[in-house]
């Protein structure tokens, strides 16, 4: 008899079974006599897998073997900045001395407060902002915080504004954020050169404009050359300028949103500052503001007292809170460690090599790239080939494909961001994967991938017949 685990490991036609397929054990909850609670306050039973530690170790190890990661190979997802996550940052974040409860009295957690204070300062300097909150737990939460700050600012000045202007090519979060904050979205069509069209902006800006949300370089890697005029137009109308920090990696040490006229920005530390994406999170989305908006920041902020100690305070006109406590603490420690490790020279080199890598990779591709000059990322087009199919074929060539079919201003877009961590050799092989997949037959790209843990997955079946837990699976499924 072949042992289960051996069979599943070596037979590629079988995958790792679900925990529930390995075991299901029902534990009845004790009744009044033996249990600590009366029966009407408890559930009847719990049915879950009951497995030994070795079985669990093998289960998750096997799952990890069916997962691509930045340490598996190139991960050039445009707008995602998939950088190597330095190992030592995990160790500093695991320091038991930093593992404290958020309600501890400030005088007993001076070390943690010092880190928060210094990270506020670091991020402020890097973005050219006067004050920073670390509370938002992700980029979208940062956007929400920023737009709430804009809203509070306008309300404080007796200015009820109803619109947020967003370029059509912006991240989906921008639109959803503005809407969640209660604003109407005014979508800005792109100009012929892929950047903001000043005439379209002129037409969109009005006394109803609360803010313009902008990514710079934008979502196809182009720098908004007219940023000073854009800022003037928005400010003249009484609006605020919001910077989406997703693409900050292109500018580290070379240009700062604060110097371009932006009033509010968020930082995606899981992109720019190399904290791990964790399969979808946690990230952190600190928000920086100019001095005029400092008093609206979420509570608490950290300041240094004259005697050198640190304390928390609530800004005078604070918008309140966007996270139940103080955000994704472990991620913030890793952010600090990364910035401290790189320093000025390292940050400047990161943006240099990120832009060099994107441009070099682009130069090696057979695909057309309609817009430029681009910085840390570029949007190639697969033309009459389906970008999603080309991407699936790339999986067979041992690389992760780029972001596909977005932004829509580039047809069949393949938005590619190799980041600074790839070597020339790695970029050459990435280019080869691109070119081979792009040149492959229709049949080959449509049936790809074949060398992955799963072949092409039926998305329509998943959505038409949602099966969202092991309870929803048929016994033979």
């Amino acid at each position: 008899m072949i042992h289960d685990q051996a069979r599943y490991t070596h037979d590629e036609t079988k995958r790792e079974p679900l925990l529930s397929e390995k075991d299901q054990t029902t534990v009845e909850i004790d009744d009044d006599d033996d249990g600590p609670l009366p029966a009407d306050l408890t559930r009847d039973s719990v049915t879950l897998p009951s497995l030994s530690e070795p079985e669990i170790a093998r289960h998750y190890t096997r799952l990890s073997q069916m997962n691509w990661s930045i340490e598996s190979g190139p991960y050039p997802l445009g707008s995602c900045t998939m950088k190597y996550n330095p190992k030592f940052t995990e160790d500093v974040a695991a320091d038991p001395n930093a593992a404290i409860h958020p309600d501890r009295a400030a005088e007993t957690v001076q070390g943690n407060l010092e880190l928060r204070y210094r990270l506020q300062e670091y991020l402020g300097t890097i973005g050219g902002m006067d004050a920073v909150t670390l509370q938002p737990p992700a980029g979208a939460a940062g956007e929400f915080t920023g737009i709430l700050i804009a809203k509070a600012y306008h309300e404080h000045h007796g200015n009820d504004r109803s619109e947020v202007i967003i370029p059509a090519s912006a991240h989906g979060t921008n639109f959803a954020t503005a809407s969640m904050a209660g604003y109407d979205v005014v979508e800005l069509p792109p100009g012929d050169d892929g950047r903001v069209d000043l005439e379209a902006l002129e037409a969109a800006v009005s006394e109803d404009t609360a803010a313009l949300m902008l990514t710079n370089p934008n979502t196809i890697g182009l720098f908004e050359r007219d940023i000073v005029e854009i800022a003037e137009m928005v400010h003249d109308a009484g609006g605020l300028l919001y910077y989406d920090g997703a693409n900050l990696n292109a500018l580290l040490g070379r240009a700062r949103p604060g110097d371009m006229g932006f009033d509010i920005m968020h930082y995606n530390v899981h992109k720019t500052f190399a904290t791990p994406h964790g399969g979808g999170g946690p990230g952190a989305g600190p928000v920086g503001v100019v001095s005029e908006l400092e008093s609206y920041l979420p509570t608490p902020q950290v300041k240094q007292t004259d005697s050198g100690t640190y304390e928390e305070f609530e800004p005078e006109r604070s918008i309140g809170k966007v996270h139940g406590f103080t955000g994704n603490w472990l991620v913030l420690i890793k952010t600090y460690a990364y910035i401290a490790r790189l320093g000025d020279e390292g940050l400047l080199d990161a943006s240099a090599k990120a832009v060099l890598n994107a441009n070099y990779l682009a130069s090696q591709l057979d695909l057309e790239i309609p817009y430029g000059p681009f910085h840390h990322e570029f949007a190639a087009t697969s033309g009459d080939r389906d970008a999603a199919d080309v991407a699936k074929r790339m999986l067979d060539f041992g690389v992760h494909p780029p972001t596909t079919k977005w932004p829509e201003m580039v047809p069949e877009a393949m938005l590619t961001e190799p980041t600074e961590i790839e070597t020339k050799r790695s970029l050459d092989s990435l280019a080869e994967a691109f070119n081979r997949a792009y040149a492959d037959t229709d049949e080959a790209i449509e049936s790809a991938p074949s060398r992955t843990a799963a072949t092409r997955i039926d998305q329509a079946s998943a959505a038409r017949n949602p099966r969202l837990s092991w309870h929803a699976l048929e016994p033979d499924e």
């Binding site: 500093v92 070390g111 959803a176």
Partner: protein, 445 residues
């Protein structure tokens, strides 16, 4: 590493020769020539951050964190610490998991998808509700999202969420910000000896009630005894019953579906994550009726081209990257890795371990309260209820002064009123419970 630019990023691997040949291929002299930044907005100053060696950064941070007072915490109120077995770190820190991105290419991310599918399944089992997403940021934002869901479902009639007066201030502040843009209102009902005051709740409920929110256990540690009656108040007014709880409480206390919960929110980071300054893992589970209103990511099962079971993110049209301003939420990056940790921890405990840990949470709170109660100067628990993990202590002396003295004895507890402390006991601090009792005694004297 000598071939690399000495002052550059240690994580940019370019040799001088490679950089040169790449620049030549691009027909430029330096990387700076590739930038298209107008001179008037270029930054040519210094940030003033000194690069440090790895060892120096580690030393700096170790020294910084050593400035924190080393206190044994008996703290909870929404952020709990349970002993996290070593296997959680070792498995979750595998690079294949922690350094991966959102599973937009499911064919090469089956492992993480399956782990998240299993996490969702555990929540489905524990809540009794058929839909659970693969995470929100924390309990506060999960409550806020549940309220917005209720507002959408009741968009033509109900616009008010009813919350307990004891709702933790931080949670309430987040809720206020989320409902601000939706035009919804928050109203507060009273509490009676720690649990919901049904008369107070019924008095403010009405046709404008979109949702009623209650917690089990409550923020003061009591176990709610009227969940079905609270649900009835919500349902009689065509509102939703939103129940706040946590992963461990779910293993023992009444199953949410059986008491009429429409949405379950709360913290799942009671498992898998050590105390981490408030970092969380928001639970979001609901009924099938509201499937298309669910915020955040969902993992579903499907088939691959060879007809084998496979997992994928699904129903993504709810989400911001497709539906933009009409999305159910703006959430994108979530807490996936924390969910992985919680799932590994829950799997390691198994149903026996979960139930036993949850039962200990009741027993230990009860016995610790009884011991403190015996000391002159304290009454514990303040509420004549069953407790889960934590309870409130009445102090004859001002509570802040007692807490200060307990800190000098090496213990941290919550001050929740002029004469009220709150104490939380879990398997992490239970071995120090006797010393805590001794400290309470010492301080009282």
């Amino acid at each position: 590493m000598t071939a690399h630019i000495p002052d550059g990023s240690p994580f940019a691997p370019h040799t001088t020769a490679d950089t040169k040949s790449m620049l030549e291929a691009l027909e430029v002299d330096t990387e700076a020539d590739l930038f298209d930044i107008p001179a008037d907005v270029a930054f040519d100053g210094e940030l003033g951050i000194d690069a440090q060696s790895e060892r120096a950064v580690r030393t700096e941070l170790a020294e910084m964190f050593s400035q924190n007072d080393s206190l044994t915490e008996f703290m909870g109120r929404g952020h709990y610490s349970t002993y996290v077995p070593s296997i959680v770190d070792h498995l979750a820190d595998r690079a294949e998991f922690i350094t991966s991105y959102t599973q937009y290419q499911p064919e090469i991310t089956q492992g993480f998808l399956q782990a998240l599918f299993e996490y969702q399944s555990m929540l489905v089992e524990l809540t009794g509700l058929p839909v659970a997403n693969c995470s929100m940021y924390d309990a506060a934002t999960a409550l806020a999202e549940a309220t917005l869901l209720a507002g959408r479902v009741r968009s033509t009639t109900g616009d008010t969420v009813l919350v307990p007066e004891t709702l933790r201030a931080g949670k309430r502040a987040v809720l206020e910000n989320y409902v601000d843009g939706s035009g919804m209102q928050i109203e507060t009902y009273g509490m009676d000896d720690g649990n919901a005051d049904l008369d107070s709740l019924r008095a403010i409920a009405g046709e404008e009630t979109a949702a009623v929110y209650a917690e089990n256990p409550t923020v003061r540690g009591t176990i709610e005894e009227s969940l079905s009656a609270i649900a009835d108040v919500a349902h009689d007014n065509e509102g939703l019953f939103v129940l706040g709880t946590d992963l461990l409480a779910l293993s023992l206390l009444s199953e949410p579906a059986s008491v009429g919960a429409d949405v379950v929110v709360g913290e799942a980071d009671v498992l898998g994550l050590p105390t981490s300054n408030g970092m969380g893992l928001g639970i979001f589970a609901t009924k099938e009726t509201f499937l298309r209103q669910v915020p955040g990511r969902l993992v579903g099962a499907s088939e691959d081209a060879d007809d084998r079971r496979a997992y994928t993110l699904t129903l993504q049209t709810r989400e911001q990257h497709i539906r933009k301003e009409r999305a159910t939420s703006n959430i994108c990056t979530n807490q996936a890795w924390v969910a992985l940790r919680a799932a590994i921890h829950a799997a390691w405990l198994g149903p026996e371990g979960l139930v036993s840990l949850a039962e200990d949470s009741v027993r230990n709170a009860q016995s610790l309260a009884a011991e403190i109660d015996e000391i002159t100067g304290y009454k514990a628990p303040v509420h004549d209820r069953h407790h889960f993990r934590e309870f409130v202590v009445h102090t004859e002396q001002p509570a802040a002064a007692i807490a200060g003295e307990l800190a000098s004895e090496g213990f941290a507890v919550h001050v929740v009123g002029e004469h009220e402390l709150q104490v939380c006991i879990t398997d992490v601090n239970e071995s120090a419970a006797d010393e805590l009792v001794a400290a309470f005694e010492e301080v009282a004297a």
